[in-house]
Each structure stands twice: as C-alpha cells, then as structure tokens.
C-alpha cells in the first residue's frame, strides 16, 4: 500500500537523472555545504565534543539493550499523567489507530508537525481515504506536500527546491504573487497555514525523544509550528518510533547538545518543547494526548545484535550533509523515506534487504558519516555487513556488459589470487590483450565488464610493460 513504490534497481536511474540536473546539483551542493560548515563551527565551541558523542552512544546502547523496560516505564508514566498509549506493530496498524482517534474526536482536519514516521507509514493518504485532510505545517514539508513529493532530506525536506521552485508552487496552489524573497515566501505560507491551525481538530507530531523516566515527549524546531500544532487543537497525537526512548530527563543534557549542532549547527533549536500528558485543570493545551508507539521493523532490527546500532540514530541529518554521494544523487534517489548514509541502513532494515538490495552498495565507504554522527554509529561497517548479507541471500544482478555473473567473476578472481602463477599469467595475458585497445598508455573503451563501465566516464591506465615483480626478479639476478 505504498504511495510510491520502492524500486531498488531504480537508484541507478534516479542517480543518473539527478546528476544531469544542474539546478538540483547546485541546490544540494550549496545546502549541504552550508549545513556541514555550520556544524564544524558549532562543534568547535564545545571542548568536550568527543566525550559527548561517546556518552550519547553509551546512553543509546543502554536503552536498546533494555528497550522493553524503558518502553514499559515510559508508557506507564504517560498514562499516569493522563495520556493514552497505543501500540502499533505495523504501519497499517498505526494508520488505523490515528484514523480512529480522529474519527472519535470528529476531526476532519489535522495539522501535522514534521514526522518522518508518518511518511514511513504513509499516514496522509490513509487519512485522506477516510475523509480526513492533513496539512503539513513545517515549511519544508508544506512545500513538499504541495509538490506531491516525498521529503528529500531528513531535516530539510525541501532541500532540493530553490526559492524559484517554491514561488512557482505557491503561485499555482495558493494563488500568490510570484516572488523570490524568502521572507515574502514564508509570509505567504504563514497566512495559508494560519487558517489550517485554527480549523484543525487534531494535531499530529512525532517525537525527537521520549523520556522513560517522566513519560515526556521532547520536540525540537525552529519555526514554532510544532508548538502550535501540539497545543492549539483539542487532540494531540504523537507518533513515536520505539527507538526514540531515552532513560532520564537529565540525559537531554547530552542529546540536546549533540542534536542541533550535528544537524544544523545550532546550539539549541529556536523552540524545545517538553510535553507530558494532556492539559491539567486550569492549563492551556490539548484535552487529549495520545502516544502511538510504532514498531514497523524496529523490533526486528533490535533483535539483530549487529544491526541494532542503526536504532541509535537521532535523526540529525548530519550524515546526509557530509556524504559525498548524497550531495550528488540527492535524497529521492534512495527510493524511500530515509536517505543518505543512515537511509541506506534504515531502508533495508525496515522494508527488507531484498527490496533495497542496491542501497548498501551506493557508497564509496569514505566514512565521513561515521565521523560526524553524534551517536557514533559505525555506518561503513554496517554497510559492509549488509553487503555481505545481500551476497549470501541472493545473487547479485548481472553487471551490464559482463561475461559472467558477479559471483562467478569474484570466484575466478579469488582462485587466481590464491595462485601466484595464475596471477602472473593473468597479468601477462592482459598485457598481450591490451595491445589491441591501449593507445599511448591508455585504454579509452573496452567492451567487457568491469572495464566497460569504468571507461564510460574516464580512461583506464594500461598495465605497465613489466610488473614490479618482473622487474624485481631481473634486478635481483
């Protein structure tokens, strides 16, 4: 029941498409560079930065290793403070729960704060099918919603859009005057959203953190839309992936310090909200607060001792901003909700490696993501693990222009590498063969994989007339 099917093979097509779009390339180049630079500046202000990362990693490990206890503690505390807890094993269950809450409350309009989990479970179409209309109130998500697209980045959903794109979108859907002044565009969105906030019977959010000790949902933002969406409507529903748990309120001192700096270079975001239960007598706020705890592949990941680390992610988007592959191919190339280095791990884990077989290979393993990750997830190591699982479980698609399957090529390669005589013979045969294709020390075109794919975009150096070991042999005589 996906809105846009996940095509694992299409990452190649989509990557090619993104590379050819100069407009898109510039949008990603400048946005990721800006965020990456801001992060560097922000962390330079924190003398104990590496220790903070170690602490954040250790806290997340503690939570994952006792998640059942922390979830029970969290749920109990939410209920004690008047909130209602729901458990959703699948995306479909989560959608049904949210729909039922809205129907019981008679809410036909919902205002949404940015929540990636809602994208995962495809909540908006499910609500629409029941006659409930959800408006995204985060500016980037609002833009993406008008465009009928998925978010292109975990933190900056409209990163791929320029102000001209946005102006055109607003003119088409909101009938506004074209402008490329950011403040004017924001004002147009604000006016449109204001009415929706006022009418909405329900506000829906995610959670950046869920504190077990107190039953508190923690939300960070720069725009104020989350605060509005979670306090003005009568009903507040929080969709919480079960990995969002942290043990104690005091642990926010670690997580809030690493989250903003890693993602956007901010010491703290403009608003940080701690919501514990619905309003109490005499207070402002929603009458009802619902927390929907979502599994949707997380428990299976938790059960996997190696891949469990993927759940440590606090969704800062830092790895996307650092990744040299992401900045070239953009978020949509990854084919699902989560993109960039962490997306290449989350997607196969949540929807199955068979559906996303190519993702772990779409990386040069440069490891910059690991360096910037605030919770020190060893992303390259986990990508290598998924690569080996992919090869164990299924045959790799036959490479274009290959004389044999990838596995057969590797087996042949391994056979030769174990036998110096075969290795040397291979070298001598290659030197013989290259006389037909090499010009002045370079091979420009070759019909057979892997050289065929190599030479599509660059030349390949011809093998040297004599290998080092041949020369050494001669010198030693």
């Amino acid at each position: 029941m996906r809105r846009t099917p996940v095509h694992s093979g299409d990452i190649h097509e989509r990557a090619r498409w993104a590379l050819q779009d100069a407009h898109l390339q510039e949008a990603y180049r400048s946005s990721t560079l800006r965020l990456f630079t801001h992060r560097l500046e922000a962390i330079s202000e924190v003398p104990g930065w590496q220790r903070l990362r170690d602490r954040a990693h250790a806290l997340k490990r503690e939570v994952m290793e006792h998640l059942d206890c922390y979830l029970a503690q969290f749920a109990s505390n939410v209920e004690q403070r008047g909130g209602q807890v729901h458990w959703a094993a699948t995306g479909q269950e989560a959608c049904a729960i949210v729909r039922e809450i809205a129907e019981r409350a008679g809410a036909t309009e919902v205002v949404k704060a940015k929540t990636m989990v809602s994208e995962e479970i495809e909540l908006n179409p499910a609500l629409e099918a029941a006659g409930i209309f959800a408006t995204e109130t985060d500016l980037g998500e609002f833009i993406v919603q008008l465009a009928g697209e998925r978010p292109a980045h975990i933190v900056a959903p409209a990163m791929h859009k320029t102000r001209h794109d946005v102006s055109a979108l607003f003119a088409a859907h909101l009938h506004s005057q074209p402008t490329d002044v950011p403040e004017e565009l924001t004002a147009i969105a604000r006016r449109a959203l204001r009415e929706r906030f006022a009418r909405a019977g329900m506000g829906l959010s995610g959670a950046n953190f869920a504190v077990a000790e107190t039953g508190t949902i923690v939300l960070v933002e720069n725009e104020g839309n989350i605060r509005f969406a979670t306090t003005a409507p009568r009903i507040h529903v929080a969709l919480v992936g079960i990995e969002k748990l942290i043990p104690r309120l005091a642990d926010l001192a670690v997580f809030l310090r690493v989250l903003g700096r890693s993602g956007t270079g901010q010491g703290l975001t403009v608003y940080t909200s701690l919501l514990t239960g619905p309003r109490r007598p005499g207070e402002d706020g929603p009458e009802e607060m619902h927390v929907v705890l979502v599994d949707n592949g997380r428990v299976a990941t938790l059960a996997d001792p190696k891949m469990r680390e993927v759940l440590y992610c606090i969704r800062c988007g830092g790895c996307l901003n650092a990744c040299p592959v992401y900045r070239k191919i953009g978020g949509h190339a990854y084919g699902w909700v989560y993109s960039g280095p962490i997306g290449a791990l989350i997607t196969p884990q949540f929807i199955g490696l068979e559906s996303a077989r190519e993702l772990p290979f779409a990386s040069s393993l440069c490891a910059l993501c690991r360096e910037v990750c605030p919770v020190k997830i060893n992303i390259p190591d986990l990508l290598l693990c998924l690569r080996s699982r992919a090869q164990e479980r299924s045959k790799a698609p036959r490479p274009k222009g290959s004389l044999a399957s990838e596995r057969t090529l590797m087996r042949l390669w391994a056979w030769a590498m174990k036998r110096p005589w075969a290795y040397s013979l291979g070298g001598r045969l290659a030197r013989l063969g290259q006389r037909f294709v090499a010009r002045q020390g370079w091979i420009r075109k070759f019909p057979v994989f892997p050289l065929s794919r190599w030479t599509e975009g660059r030349d390949f150096p011809a093998l040297a007339p004599k290998s080092f070991r041949e020369r050494w042999k001669e010198i030693s005589k």
Partner: protein, 249 residues
C-alpha cells in the same frame, strides 16, 4: 604497534599491492629507492598477490577470507612490512580482525601482522622518525587524503610533513580537502556516473587551487583521478607520494 627508531639497519618486507605491481611498478621502485637512501634494506616475497579487499568490499566474505588466509603466511619472518597504500594497510590492520573474528588462530596471526605492517608515510615518520628524505621538487603540489588512510588509519599529518620537507615544493590545501575522490572500490564500476562526478569535484578543487600535481598515497585513488584527467585533458598530473619523495634535481 612497534615504535621507536630501529637500532640497527632495519629490514623491510615490501607489500607492493596488486594495483601498484601491475599498473604503477614505478611506485615500488621509488619506495625501494627512498628506503635505500635511509639505509633500510628491502626484501620482496614474490608469492604475494592481493590482500583480498575487492571481495570484502563487495560483500563476498568467503572469497575474501580465502585470499586473506593465504596472505597471512607471507610475511611471517618480516620485522616490518611496508605498503604504499592506505587502503591495503587498513584492510589488514582494521578489517582482517573482523574477517577472522570466528577463527582464533588466524585472528591472532592477523593481529600480529597488523602490528608489524605500516603504510609508507607512516613508516617513514613514525618508525624511522624521518621527515626529510632528501627530495627536491619545485612545483605546486596538492595533497589528496585517501579515505581509508585518513579515517581508518588516522594518518593525516605524516604525509604533509614529508611533502613540506621536499625542497622547493609548495603544498596546497584543497578547499574541502577531506572529500572522497569517488573511487570506493567496486563502487567505481557499480555507480560509475556518481564515481566520476565525485572525481570531477575533487579535480575542480585541485585546479582551482592552482595545483600542478595531485599527490596521494593510494594507487586506487590515483588511477581513478588520472583516468578522468586524461579523459578530460585537464592541466594536472597525478603522482604517488613515493614518487614525489624519490624526486631529486
């Protein structure tokens, strides 16, 4: 990890790496020459082929293990093993322990080999404690940090110190100099368009900085960048660090 300046004339077993062996043998010649200047004797075991990284990188762990197992026995009596490659060195030092995690005997051998194995610039600066190897090269040189060298081995300062000691050289730091060149092993032929686009960014930074030469410690990065330079006719030349250090007027 062996530390401290060797007391007597040290002996080094050269791990040439399959790429340098077949494509850039002059890198091997230069390593031998530079070490010779420093009174280090170099031996070469012709039974070596490859460390197994291509298979490991692509997810074929069984094939990688087979090739790596053989590799473990090739340097048993070498006090030091030196490789002109960050990626091959990190394969052995960082990834062999993972590859042999379930095999205590081989794991022990791998850890032992890893403690005696050094990347070339690391060996010069950390073991021999030398920065000036008597080289001369009066040109503008940009240095490219290869990813495994930088992030798996933590080698960042050593190559720069060696380059700065070369007479007449002007070392340029590239804007965004920590950016991957795009080779990435089999990534280069699985996602060739992305791989090439990443190299274009790297080369644009090098030419913008006014570099005449682009130097790195890894033949893999260099063959990828050189291939694009040649295809696009760019006014830039690649060079392995060993070749630079062997240069004399």
């Amino acid at each position: 990890m062996k530390t401290g300046i060797p007391a007597s004339k040290p002996r080094v077993a050269l791990f040439i790496t399959c790429l340098a062996d077949q494509l850039f043998p002059q890198v091997g010649d230069c390593v031998v020459e530079v070490l010779g200047r420093l009174e280090v004797e170099v031996t070469f075991n012709p039974k070596q082929t490859c460390c197994g990284q291509p298979a490991f990188n692509t997810g074929y762990r069984q094939e990688a293990r087979e090739v790596a197992s053989r590799f473990l026995d090739l340097f048993d009596d070498a006090e030091y093993v030196v490789a002109p490659s960050g990626s091959c060195t990190s394969m052995i030092r960082v990834f062999y322990p993972e590859l042999f995690a379930g095999d205590p005997e081989r794991l022990r051998k791998a850890q032992n080999l890893g403690s005696r194995l050094f990347e070339f610039s690391e060996f010069l600066v950390k073991v021999l404690q030398v920065e000036d190897v008597g080289a001369s090269f009066p040109h503008r040189v940009a240095y490219h940090d290869s990813c495994h060298l930088l992030r798996e081995l933590g080698i960042e300062e050593e190559p720069r110190r060696l380059i700065r000691a070369v007479r007449g050289v002007e070392l340029l730091e590239l804007q965004d100099h920590r950016l991957c060149c795009g080779f990435g092993g089999t990534f280069a032929v699985k996602f060739p368009e992305v791989s090439v686009a990443m190299a274009e960014d790297k080369l644009r930074a090098a030419t913008a900085a006014g570099a005449q030469y682009l130097v790195a410690n890894d033949a893999s990065c260099l063959m990828h960048l050189a291939g694009l330079i040649h295809r696009q006719g760019l006014p830039l030349q690649t060079m392995h660090l060993a070749e630079l250090l062997a240069k004399r007027l």
